[in-house]
Symmetry: C2
């Protein structure tokens, strides 16, 4: 007898449907139509209303000829139309392209052209920027103004129709479309591009569905979470929380300005249960003035990424009522796909050791199939010794489709059957990974690898240093030598000798910077230090 499972058990409409996060919204709207879905200023909308508006948006876009594979771009703060775009656009099988409003007009022009935007929705706050971008690009998208009643700053309408009128022209009973295939694109997210032009990372419906679920599981989100928007939704679709919140019929609390006062107000007024944010957001919360701060009657779950939270910050966050979880991922992995999964027994460690274990990026999400640290040449796994450096690699269903119209970059990224993150790290004996550097930021001196992160960590231990960047400078004898660029705190002065003797306390001799430069550091629109500019500077010294 052969394999009896191979016949007459095929896929059909009843037992196989494309995975897409749109279905999460439909379920919440039909199950809990009156639950609050979106809060913005004085306005609250129910799930029935949110769903109706998303369908209207889909309907109105369809009426303008938007459909499968068309790009709909949006430049917008964390306000309701941004959430609606995450459902209304894919309802037409079009692709949502959220654009970072901290980019230059030139960069936005590049993205509009490269992504072939057919529609551009513009928050009035960013209309001047977009007007200039439109002048500089070849794309001729339909422009829709978003005139948020909660916004009273400068700006003009630059489009042919205002968002509310556009929505009003759509049908709330619009028969939206499932993707034809779950592999179809749902969104397009450009990397911030520390070098060269940004790359267009394409997400598929399957991955968006799964990462949204992964967030719920990772965050232990029960029914009706209340989620405060601090991570920009233009970053990896808000780390896919735009979709996660619909799974448990939660409430999106919008926030145009991320400030300590508005955050504490929202947390206390709406009973926020979860929020995400970069380290700078933690800083705002713990450094809030007494006037801004509100006592919280419940523990709030806070998810951070981008940099390991220091011990002092963790302790202060705890006192302020926040439990911090450390996540890691890249635009190419839909945002977070790795979590510092906490062990209860670590609660008993001294605070600095707790911070040390929490600084590690951790283990794969339940919805990521594999995570590995490998030699980028041989593809062999590095030993789990916490010391041997390798490249962090991802494999699974929450990895992008690839880079739009950039087959070479896609091929490089996927070479060897893994997504190569470009991040260098070690693998600890307990299977947790820890980043050590970006591969291009490693400094090779006298044949020894120097992690620029390690040198920067040592520098940050100096009380007078507020920011720093360490890069390699070409050197005939050593290949490269480390150079440190340093910003000091206001009112502080330092000499190169102070810095070097400080470093000697923490670092092996060959890792101590040979040159110290006091300067203002060049940063990207998202606040990342532009190492390539420092590298140029170092080599020009």
């Amino acid at each position: 007898m052969g394999n009896p499972y191979l016949s007459d058990l095929d896929k059909n409409e009843a037992n196989y449907q494309p995975l897409t996060p749109i279905t999460y919204l439909e379920r919440s709207a039909t199950t809990y139509p009156t639950r609050p879905a979106v809060v913005h200023g004085e306005m609250t909308r129910s799930y029935a209303e949110l769903y109706a508006r998303c369908r209207q948006l889909g309907s109105a876009l369809t009426a303008r000829g938007i459909g499968s594979g068309d790009t709909v771009a949006i430049v917008c703060a964390n306000i309701p139309p941004m959430i609606e775009a995450h459902y209304g656009v894919p309802m037409t099988r079009a692709v949502l392209n959220t654009i970072n409003y901290r980019l230059s007009a030139k960069e936005i022009a590049f993205i509009l052209d490269h992504g072939e935007a057919k529609v551009l929705m513009v928050d009035k706050e960013f209309s001047a920027l977009c007007k200039e971008a439109l002048r500089e690009c070849d794309a001729k998208p339909i422009v829709i103004d978003i005139d948020d009643p909660e916004y009273d700053g400068p700006g003009e309408r630059i489009g042919e129709i205002e968002y509310e009128d556009f929505i009003a022209s759509g049908d709330a009973d619009f028969e939206w479309l499932l993707p034809e295939d779950e592999w179809d694109a749902i969104s397009l997210n450009y990397t911030s591009g520390t070098t060269g032009n940004p790359k267009g990372v394409v997400y598929h419906n399957r991955g968006a569905y799964l990462l949204a679920m992964g967030n719920v599981v990772t965050a232990s989100m029960g029914r009706h979470p209340v989620y405060l928007w601090t991570v920009p939704m233009f970053h990896c679709n808000g780390w896919c929380f735009t979709w996660s919140i619909s799974i448990q019929t939660g409430t999106h609390v919008c926030l145009r300005r991320v400030e300590s006062g508005t955050m504490f107000d929202a947390i206390s007024k709406y009973g926020v249960t979860h929020l995400c944010g970069a380290p700078v957001v933690m800083g705002m919360l713990i450094n809030a003035s007494d006037e801004d701060r509100k006592p919280l009657d419940h523990m709030v779950e806070f998810f951070t990424a981008a940099a390991p939270p220091p011990a002092a910050v963790l302790a202060q966050m705890k006192t302020a009522g926040f439990n911090v979880t450390h996540l890691y991922g890249l635009t190419e992995t839909y945002g977070p796909a790795v979590v510092n999964a906490w062990h209860d027994e670590w609660d008993d460690l001294p605070e600095d050791e707790q911070a040390a274990v929490k600084a590690r990026q951790g283990v794969r999400y339940a919805v990521l199939e594999d995570l590995s640290v490998r030699d980028p040449e041989t593809m062999a796994e590095v030993p789990k010794d916490g010391e041997t450096m390798g490249e962090v690699m991802f494999r699974g269903n929450v990895v992008m489709k690839g880079y739009l119209k950039n087959p070479n970059a896609s091929r490089e990224a996927f070479e060897g059957g893994w997504f190569r993150s470009g991040d260098l790290g070690v693998w600890h004996p307990d299977n947790y990974i820890q980043l050590k550097d970006r591969s291009k930021d490693i400094i090779i001196s006298g044949g020894e690898n120097i992690s620029s992160i390690e040198v920067e960590d040592a520098l940050y231990k100096h009380a007078a240093i507020s920011a720093c960047g360490v890069v390699g400078k070409s050197d005939e004898k050593w290949g490269e030598t480390p150079v440190a660029f340093i910003e000091t705190k206001p009112g502080e002065t330092l000499t190169p000798e102070d810095v070097i003797s400080h470093c000697r306390e923490y670092l092996a001799g060959y890792k101590v910077p040979r040159l110290i430069v006091f300067t203002e550091l060049p940063k990207t629109s998202t606040g990342k230090i532009q190492k390539f500019k420092l590298r140029d500077k170092a080599n020009a010294l």
Copy 2:
């Protein structure tokens, strides 16, 4: 320009992997190796141990030539080897067939032959049953004895090797296999078959992965749930909780005998957070003797299915410390795929109204794409009026592949692009569905449909009735008339007149049974009343 998303964005190993619940276990074992995975009597095994044993099982099966598409059957109580089989068997790409040990030897023989079992694992408690089944069937599986140290009842070893020795022969570092395709079969579950031969329901890896996730979301399972096994794992793979528990690295608490004493002991000793069970299990908990009962220091989440929980039971469960959620599904939908999603405001309703809203089966799981009540002839949706009856239909990724070697039954089940449950129900204005009957159990009298469930509900309101079944009897004038078969409570006596006058209080005249029969009701091995036998009886009256 065409659709730019159609080129150079293909699937590859890095961004597409088959969904399978095996990866959940691997993640828990590498992330939390020392967490307790399985508790049985005095024995506790960690996730590292559970994972190692599953790999050993996979390795040992592979060494015996078991692989893709081979059926591995098991007849076993809710003890550790049953959990291990849920991972170890699919690790070889074989298909797990858990068999109901309450079936007759003849029925088991049919299943072994029909499923083409290559291996049969037998819990000693059921060895006599299996020995007879093996005599009656043509299949010649490798027989492995499971000699549970916690079991001290009668039984002999009937196989060629004991499970622990078999496991010991396997390699704990076995390189287990992902399914070739997520659509591949992972398990085979025979329906209990109220009529004719049981049908073999085939589950795919994709659905098992998704329903396991759906349970976690539906049950709001945070990190490290403690799950008490009362639902037999041979029912829909334990409603897929066998796999769900690995997602949040929870603890399986095994229980060979479901009794009030052992349940309360386990709940209190291990801090059980979640359990599932049929109404009979709720009865055990609320009717526990003072000796068996333990005060609980936390609310326990209880998930029930099969019959709506009555108001009195819900109130008593609450007092006993259990929050009850009502689920619904069929073997064909991996167990529960519908949930009575609770609304907080319903907490304010009077108890009987709470029970009435909780009696409704509810809405789709987040991982089921569509749920509908339709006219089985025209496929038109019935109005959402809470009155018009139609057939409950499912569509989505947690619907079976089909019935094994039964293309006609599969075709019938999927006709019209929906899985036709055979259950009749109504759709309420708030989108919640409520079952009214099995389609074959509806009684058509004088052209009017009579729901046998409605008549039975009325009968159950009589304090002296412990169980009942209502069926149609052929009638020249009316087509059919309703007949009630009734079991009375011990010490109670009733006359047909008592019953009829009781029914008149609750039912329209045409729904009142024409004949009343006091008798012991015929039941299946799983406790379902065999309506087809009652129907024969009624027509012979």
